[in-house]
């Protein structure tokens, strides 16, 4: 299990608080997606979890041990950068040789098997590979390290659907066969929605949401409510509504919580306002809409971002 507690990181060079008191738990045998806009702090978090950077405060524990400068823990972590380093003239054979020199548990046989599954040629220079092929090489190398934890930084971004499907299958096999745990970052929520079973949303270095995908989907809904009378005097404060609009008898708003509970509360409110309730409809939001709601309602979105939305 990866336990991230109160993690903070400040870059003095660029004067940016990249991470601010972030706490996340990554359970074993799960695929966790780390979502956020550019500059949210995703890559920084992954680099700290991989033992590349040292945090300013907080802790990252992998199976109860700190990561930084801990070889036994890092041997169990495999990190795929968003911009992986390759030496000039490197081929997959040489990549395998490099990894096997630096990682004792690296399996050259497994690497070649995965390369074959991805349809990659081992003698061709990687400088001639497309972006997707390089990503596949990275995945093959990472999965051959014999590591229990895979940290992937925007690894799936830019992959075509077929390749993404292939990679997803391989990841799931890895989880089933080797009890792997995967933490991957992306700024593309739709791609993560398919692959991950848990999503963590980070915005400007702060943690916004950490929840299961299925749980998130039904947690926030858009409601259309039709009252029997004029709705302008009706107060829905107890529901903590968001983006509330009122027009004649119709009210629309977004609210957190179970739809049946919300409907019960609406009936109570209507009764107390002596205004009958004709119709209530709850429309589930997409995950993107849920995240936007969470960001806006928590005050983490600035005016430019709201305007963009």
């Amino acid at each position: 299990m990866i336990e991230i507690k109160n993690l903070s990181k400040y870059f003095s060079e660029s004067k940016v608080q990249s991470l601010d008191d972030v706490s996340i738990d990554i359970p074993d045998r799960s695929i966790v997606g780390l979502i956020g806009t550019n500059g949210a702090g995703k890559s920084t978090l992954l680099r700290i979890a991989a033992g590349i950077y040292r945090q300013d405060s907080g802790s990252v524990l992998v199976d109860g041990e700190t990561v930084y400068e801990n070889n036994s823990v890092k041997a169990n972590i495999s990190y795929i950068s968003d911009d992986q380093f390759y030496q000039p003239g490197m081929t997959l054979k040489r990549l395998a040789s490099t990894y096997s020199s630096l990682r004792e548990r690296f399996s050259v046989k497994k690497f070649y098997q995965l390369a074959e599954r991805f349809g990659l040629k081992t003698d061709v220079r990687m400088s001639g590979f497309s972006k997707g092929m390089r990503r596949q090489s990275d995945i093959a190398a990472a999965l051959s390290c014999g590591a229990k934890y895979l940290l992937c930084d925007e690894t799936f971004d830019g992959l075509d659907p077929l390749t993404r499907e292939k990679a997803k299958r391989i990841f799931i096999e890895e989880i089933m066969d080797n009890d792997a745990t995967i933490l991957m970052s992306s700024h593309n929520l739709r791609e993560m929605e398919d692959i991950c079973d848990r999503i963590v949303l980070i915005h400007k270095g702060k943690l916004v949401i950490s929840a299961d995908v299925d749980g998130l989907r039904g947690s926030v809904n858009k409601y259309q409510v039709l009252f029997d009378g004029d709705s302008s005097g009706v107060s829905l404060e107890s529901l903590n509504p968001f983006r509330l609009t009122s027009s004649g008898r119709m009210m629309t708003f977004i609210a957190d919580g179970d739809p049946s509970e919300v409907e019960k509360m609406l009936k109570v409110i209507a009764a107390s306002e002596s205004c009958g309730l004709s119709y209530v409809e709850a429309v589930p939001l997409t995950l993107e809409e849920v995240f936007t709601y969470k960001l806006e309602s928590s005050g983490l979105m600035d005016d430019n971002e709201k305007e963009a939305e």
Partner: protein, 523 residues
């Protein structure tokens, strides 16, 4: 054991990863160096009285020293250059290898990459010599010196790499490390040349500077001068430890020109200080403050230009040229204070004349150089040539005009101080101009040797004795300073002042040796 095993494994990876570098050193050292050494010897043998094997040994030793110097700079850059690239840093730091293991492992790689080709070079060199008919060429002569030079320079370069954020700033740091002490000491001496006996301080300054200049080890160790070796070894150990600590705590995410942002200003202002200080002191030394305004303007221009250029280089941004300009004014004010402090305060507080010896007697030589159209055959010591602007050769004869000894300690001190404090001391430019004028106008010029003698215990100058100059049976050590005099008035005045001193005159024998005859001498 596990730690050591990982270091060895990393070392193996370092060699495998830098195979091209290894190949270049094999090519350069194993093939080119022996050929160069042999060609050099065959080219020079007609002019030298040394034996061919000796010349071969010297040649390969010299070339090896140079190769070791180059290797000490290039190899660390190749091995540790990954710290300058975020992608490479991320890749290597994500591996289950501690930074200390990278440091030690790569250091072992570097030693292997230099040493193995070097040893093969020596074997090939001996084989080449055998084929060329030259026997008795040593396999091991100079070998350990070359390896030591490599380690010393490697330590400095590694320190510079870990301190800096780019290859360029690493080279700048290495250059600064090697010139800083030299410039500071010699600059200060040049600045205080009127107040100090510069030649006395020069020799001390050289000794101190060379101890802090790792690159100079390439020369001294190659010529078997081990006087500075203890200092080099201590400095090497300190640099390696500091480099290790800096690498351990270096932030992997830096992209600045220096790895530790707060040290960036130290680097910048040290470079500015060193460069401006050289210019100020040399300008003063040559002009003797006759053109003080040009001195000030020159120094100011250098400071401003360096401030702008270094800002751009170290921030890696052209727009940073005038960032933190208030620091420039603070630096300029501090610079004026430092220079004035050295000139007016420090130099006056230092002993005028420092020598490492106990002075028992002073030997004064006044030597006159006179233009002569006669070519003095045979005795090269008395004959010198000078080519003027028209390309005409002027031949000079040196006469040892007067040589005498002073043994009274009070009088010794007086003579010493008098010569340097009270006699005419023109600026260096004027001095050389005077000399050139004398040559061109065929006028004699003089120079005076003041030689301080530290006699061996039990040796005095109270009786007649044979004593050749620098004879080690008579003296423990000596110190000699030279003062050029183009005005004979100075010589007469010198004698007039010292009229009441007791002089011992020296008489030369026909065979060139000398003996002291203790007659009273009056000028």
């Amino acid at each position: 054991m596990e730690y050591a095993r990982k270091c060895i494994r990393t070392a193996y990876f370092g060699v495998k990863n830098n195979f091209v570098l290894l190949g270049l050193f094999v090519l350069g050292l194993d093939i080119i160096a022996p050929l160069l050494a042999i060609l050099q010897v065959f080219n020079e043998k007609v002019h030298s009285a040394e034996s061919i094997p000796d010349m071969m040994n010297q040649s390969i030793t010299f070339i090896s020293g140079f190769s070791a110097l180059l290797a000490g700079i290039i190899i660390p850059l190749m091995l540790f250059g990954f710290v300058y690239s975020r992608r490479q840093s991320d890749f290597y730091n994500s591996m289950p290898i501690k930074r200390g293991q990278y440091f030690i492992g790569y250091s072992i790689s570097g030693l292997f990459i230099f040493t193995v080709p070097y040893i093969i070079t020596r074997i090939i060199f001996v084989l080449f010599c055998s084929v060329a008919g030259v026997q008795n060429v040593s396999l091991f002569s100079g070998m350990w010196q070359a390896i030591l030079v490599y380690i010393i320079v490697y330590a400095s370069m590694t320190f510079a790499i870990m301190f800096s954020g780019s290859g360029l700033s690493a080279i700048l740091t290495l250059a600064l490390m090697n010139v800083f002490t030299f410039v500071l000491l010699f600059g200060a001496i040049n600045l205080g040349w009127r107040a100090l006996d510069s030649s006395a301080y020069d020799s001390l300054a050289f000794s101190v500077s060379y101890s802090f200049m790792p690159l100079s080890s390439a020369y001294f160790l190659t010529v078997n001068d081990f006087a500075y070796l203890p200092a080099y070894l201590i400095l090497t150990a300190a640099e390696l430890v500091l480099a290790f600590v800096m690498y351990r705590y270096r932030k992997g995410e830096t992209t600045l020109a220096v790895a530790f942002p707060k040290t960036r200003y130290i680097l910048q202002y040290m470079i500015m200080f060193v460069t401006a200080f050289i210019a100020t002191c040399k300008s003063f030394y040559y002009d003797n403050f006759q053109n003080i305004w040009s001195n000030i303007i020159l120094s100011a221009i250098i400071i401003v230009v360096l401030f702008v250029v270094l800002n751009m280089l170290l921030e890696k941004d052209f727009r940073a040229a005038f960032h933190k300009i208030r620091y420039l004014f603070i630096f300029a004010a501090g610079y004026v204070v430092v220079v004035a402090g050295i000139y007016f305060v420090v130099n006056n507080c230092l002993p005028y004349y420092i020598t490492p010896i106990q002075t028992d007697a002073v030997r004064v030589e006044i030597i006159r150089s006179v233009y002569s159209e006669d070519v003095i055959a045979g005795d090269a010591r008395k004959h010198e040539e000078w080519t003027d602007e028209n390309g005409d050769e002027c031949r000079y004869v040196r006469d040892r005009m007067e040589t005498f000894y002073i043994t009274d300690p009070e009088q010794v001190r007086y003579v010493r101080d008098y010569v340097y404090k009270y006699m005419n001391r023109p600026s260096v430019t004027d001095e050389w101009q005077d000399l050139q004028n004398c040559v061109e106008e065929h006028k004699p010029y003089y120079y005076m040797h003041i030689v301080l003698l530290d006699l061996k215990d039990g040796i005095t100058l109270d009786k007649d004795m044979s004593m050749a100059y620098r004879e080690s049976s008579v003296m423990d050590s000596y110190y000699c300073s030279i003062n050029y005099i183009t005005d004979t008035q100075d010589i007469r005045y010198f004698h007039d002042v010292c009229r009441d001193f007791t002089w011992r005159n020296e008489v030369f024998n026909e065979d060139g040796s000398s003996r002291i005859v203790f007659d009273e001498f009056e000028y």
